[in-house]
Amino acid sequence: MTLDDAKILISDDSILARKQLKDIIARYGNPTFLEATNGQDTIDIYKKERPALVFLDIVMPVKDGNAAIREIVSFDKDADIIIVSSVGTQSQLRAAIDAGANDFIQKPINAEQIHHIITSRFEGR
């Protein structure tokens, strides 16, 4: 799949964090961005849209990131979920991986890491 054909779900309660992530990804292509601001929205949008990739914050209102991962993975075991969090402790990392996340990025986000994630999953234009 090319990046331009992909749907990418960005889930973070901070409008700034969502914008920064979208801005970085947009350097590499023009995917369809979907946005969620809490764990429950993330689950609902995932089920409806089946995005190719999800970026997910852990500390979020209504339902936290790990609860959202578990629910999404039970719905789609191949879901590709990347945690983006300011709390990159070993135990948080383990909890996220145990819940079904594929990768964990510590904030502040660094464009190189995002670039790596994008290029390892999508073909160029």
Binding site: S14, A17, S86, V87, Q90
Partner: protein, 298 residues
């Protein structure tokens, strides 16, 4: 990191006004340390001797080092050594104040001596800013607590200053923290950190300051108090607390939970637990941190 504490020292001792300090803080990155300032700091020359050389320089077209050697104040080896010194950034602040004419060499000399003895800093400490020294500076800075800061509190404050340097800029001066029972809010966000060290953190500033703060944090120019600006304040607090919990986990094996940041809507906050207000002066305005200590086992 010394410059910020030295700035606080100068301000709290009435040596400089807030405006003079802010100006010098902004300028310090472009200031060039003069050999005379370095010689005073190293204790090789007195302020008086430096002033004499400066007067001589007005009559003779020679470098400061050359004249200081010919007058017998410095050896050539000392000149070479001074030129090689890794500049302590607090001296850059001193130099900026000298250049602005706020203080003279004599005043600088006595300030350096007083500041160093008050904080038990010795000459060799400047080349390697060890954590121990910064912790001591933070401790002395927080005299208001009238007790030793716990290692968790020290880590928290130390990291906060580092994060300000890293994400906002090093041209700030922390002013002396004070005990706080009530606080009238501007735009205020809070976040609770919970676990074996529980603390509620607040970051408050007027809207115009938020705009400037966000512009630096995001590295984009904002010109109105919009949702991105508001999110930046939360984001910084959340980022700091997140990095703090990573440090606590790595250093002490303590797992902390972060709650979702919250925008404080009441005009007056009241604190039940021991709380400290820490104002930080930036050229673009003053930002206010408040820490409410909820529980600790340290």
């Amino acid at each position: 990191m010394y410059a910020q504490f030295f700035g606080n020292y100068l301000l709290s001792h009435g040596v400089v006004t807030k405006e003079q300090l802010v100006h010098a803080m902004q300028k310090k990155s472009s200031v060039h340390l003069k050999l005379g300032t370095l010689a005073i700091h190293a204790g090789y020359m007195t302020a008086n001797e430096v002033d004499q050389i400066i007067i001589l320089q007005t009559h003779q077209d020679k470098r400061f080092g050359e004249l200081a050697v010919s007058e017998g104040y410095l050896t050539q080896a000392q000149v070479t050594e001074l030129l090689k010194i890794q500049n302590a950034d607090f001296l850059l602040l001193g130099q900026a104040l000298l250049d602005d004419g706020v203080i003279d060499n004599e005043r600088l000399q006595s300030l350096i001596i007083d500041y160093q003895s008050e904080n038990e800093i010795c000459e060799s400490d400047y080349s390697n800013e060890t954590r121990e020294i910064i912790d001591r500076l933070v401790e002395n800075f927080f005299v208001v607590t009238e007790r030793a800061l716990s290692r968790y509190e020290l880590s928290f404050i130390h990291l906060l200053f580092n994060n300000l340097v890293r994400f906002i800029g090093d041209d700030f001066t922390p002013t002396c923290p004070c005990l706080c029972q009530e606080y009238p809010t501007n735009y205020c966000v809070s976040q609770k950190v919970e676990g074996r060290f529980s603390i509620r953190t607040y970051l408050d500033m007027p809207e115009s300051t938020c705009i400037a703060f966000a512009s630096r944090y995001v590295d984009e120019t904002f010109d109105s108090f919009d949702e991105y600006v508001q999110a930046s304040i939360e984001d910084f607090l959340n980022l700091h607390n997140g990095l703090f919990s990573v440090n606590m986990s790595n250093e002490y094996g303590i797992e902390l939970q972060l709650e979702v940041p919250n925008i404080e809507t009441s005009e007056l906050l009241t604190f039940e637990k021991e709380s400290y207000l820490l104002p930080i002066i930036y050229p673009f305005g003053t930002i206010y941190f408040i820490f409410e200590l909820l529980a600790t086992d340290a």
